[in-house]
Assembly symmetry: none
Homo-oligomer: 400 residues x 2
């Protein structure tokens, strides 16, 4: 893998346009002898594949199942082992919280405290409506601890997300959660000296919240875990001299895109909406990340047939993209989510790259086994970015 | 390559079982147009290959011919460039010496000393029987130097292995062997300050041995080389949370397995014995390393036909393994030993991985060129471990 700074030195701004389509969880496994891609009827995608170079990517490394954070960072050209997105941050992005570089995020539970011990880590799974009420109460009663602003976002049942927003905060804290019950509450502890002040603020907030909730039952305490600072990641503009934009319906992917400096566009609701957004904003950017979520959702549900249908729905919208005449088109996934596994998996991701200057594969179908035999070979997903930039004629020669 | 500590964090103990079969030196080269694997009639292995993912590994790196130590370490999931097994240690493991963490091992020669010069580094290749007699004499006369115990193991002709066993020993010593003859004897010298005391003990032992042997002819001196301390390698249980066991007939491979914390089982003599051992011990472990030696032995002899026969013998025993219904089966080699080369070689190793969740290759034969076209691509052997762990559903997701 070429170090980022070397790539940055080679990148040239040009008018050429790249479209990276991430069909979340696209890679599959056979069910009745055919994978989801093999079963899908996709005349447009297959025709594109015939004119494209194919390959397979490993998001992290062979055998490793990636979460959405690292797998997306890799496709955006960032070494996923170097840049870390903490649990709390991913959670906050997922619920659509608009994070700033000053924020430390954490995942929260409402819990039950009795005689000084946590007796139920989920407060009997209180109704979501009750959760909203309690978050509103806490927000009103404890808007800040000293100079640090507290932002709460209720989730489902007992879950919520919290942001601590202030100068000099540090996310390197242990969980303020005993993980089992019954157990004594545990305070957040600083993993490094620099996080000591943040630990004090967090523990003060927990104490205040316990006071505010003291006459409530069963939710009279809070547990916080997965503390993480908003990561300091160089933007795609800094690294790759791109003016990137993101078209994604789900908050987490919009948040991930923002994290690397993409402009987040109004994507609409459907795949067709997303392609229409692409067409509408076409002149304003030179790199578009278009995210299709439901291939993953149905994969996670184990719903093979619906995953196939989403791929076919995508295929019907593809002509909108082709009509724009991009210089580079990449169709791949962040990770595989085979319906038969009902989960993200370690399997290699199918990868298609089309440009005027690619070596056409001539295959009849965009499918895992053709990608496995493809001329791009099997490579780390982080190298997709140089492939796209190269094919867009945006990279100068390395060395004389 | 993912750092070990990251893998350790992802590993979960589960009841799933992995079998890693190392057919030593399996990879070959064409002789009359067909490699050893291509020439072998292996219906069972071929059927397994059709249902498996295939690929090729490089034990160290393209073009590098590996020794058995590093190539096995790689397959066990250890970076072979990071963990070193010194010559003396490998020799000691090879002759079945039961080493401890306190030991420094070295390879020895009986030699001829005349007028203060080494005139024959092999003492005229004395008969093995004479070697045994001299080792017994030295063991009786010089059982220890100070607090350091001396363990001798005669080899063939003039060769022997020696262990220095004591606290605080250090193997970073230069050879006490002029390498050519005639030449002055040379003492062991410490490469680092910490090895100074060990050098003194070694040189004192050489002086004592020369005194004891002084009236013998032609073997009246000893040369020692390849000093190495038993390496401090984290166990597979520490790194991968496995309860591993080794089934290997030859001492070196049993020793290598012990080095990484495997339980060494009683393997018997034949391939069939080894598979029977596997069946007998099946319930007690979750990772089995089964080593087949003779593919390499016949490769080194240049005996193409016998190497083919060993592969076929393996194929006949394979049903015993399949009947156990492992979760993951991996069949590969530590390095290639083409019969036409009569030596270990740098050629990629054929690699087969079967699990319930692999993407079947559908090939008709387990053979080098099908592996070269396989969906796993060509990868460093050290990544085999994460592939096996991933397919056994023993790895948690990386990142959220």
């Amino acid at each position: 893998m070429v170090p980022e700074n070397v790539i940055t030195e080679l990148v040239q701004r040009t008018p050429s346009k790249i479209v990276l389509i991430v069909m979340d969880g696209l890679g599959g496994l056979p069910h009745n002898g055919r994978s989801e891609l093999a079963a899908a009827d996709c005349p447009c995608l297959d025709k594109l594949a015939a004119a494209s170079e194919l390959g397979q990517t490993d998001p992290i490394s062979r055998g490793i199942t990636p979460g959405s954070g690292p797998s997306h960072l890799a496709l955006f050209g960032y070494d996923p082992l170097k840049y870390e997105i903490g649990r709390g941050v991913l959670e906050a992005l997922g619920v659509g919280l608009d994070m700033t570089a000053r924020d430390v995020a954490a995942r929260g539970n409402f819990a039950t405290l009795k005689d000084g011990r946590i007796t139920d880590r989920r407060a009997g799974r209180i109704p979501t409506e009750k959760n909203k009420e309690l978050c509103a109460l806490l927000s009103k009663e404890i808007p800040r601890i000293g100079e640090v602003e507290i932002v709460l976002e209720p989730g489902k049942e007992h879950r919520f997300t919290v942001l601590f927003r202030g100068d000099g905060l540090d996310g390197r804290l242990s969980d303020a959660d005993p993980q089992i019950a019954p157990a004594e509450p545990v305070p957040a502890k600083a993993d490094v000296a620099e996080a000591k002040a943040t630990a004090d603020i967090v523990n003060k907030y927990i104490a205040e919240a316990t006071r505010v909730l003291s006459d409530r039952r069963p939710a009279n305490a809070i547990l916080l875990r997965g503390f993480a600072k908003y990561p300091d990641i160089p933007s795609m503009t800094d690294l790759f001299k791109l003016q990137p934009a993101a078209i994604a319906v789900y908050p987490m992917y919009r948040g991930l895109a923002k994290l690397v400096g993409m402009k987040v566009l109004d994507a609409g609701e459907t795949i067709e909406d997303e392609f229409n957004t692409l067409a509408r904003e076409w002149e304003k950017h030179d790199f578009f990340y278009l995210h299709v979520k439901k291939t993953d959702s149905y994969g996670e549900d184990g719903n093979f047939d619906q995953k196939v249908k989403v791929i076919e729905e995508f295929d019907r919208s593809l002509p909108t993209l082709l009509a724009l005449e991009p210089d580079v088109i990449c169709v791949t996934c962040d990770h595989s989510t085979p319906a038969v596994l009902k989960a993200h998996s370690w399997h290699a991701c199918p990868f298609l790259l089309w440009s005027k200057y690619c070596r056409p594969s001539g295959v009849r179908q965009f499918v895992e086994h053709e990608c496995a035999a493809g001329s791009l070979g099997r490579f780390p997903a982080v190298e997709a970015m140089t492939l796209m930039l190269g094919n867009a004629l945006k990279l100068a020669k390395y060395g004389a």
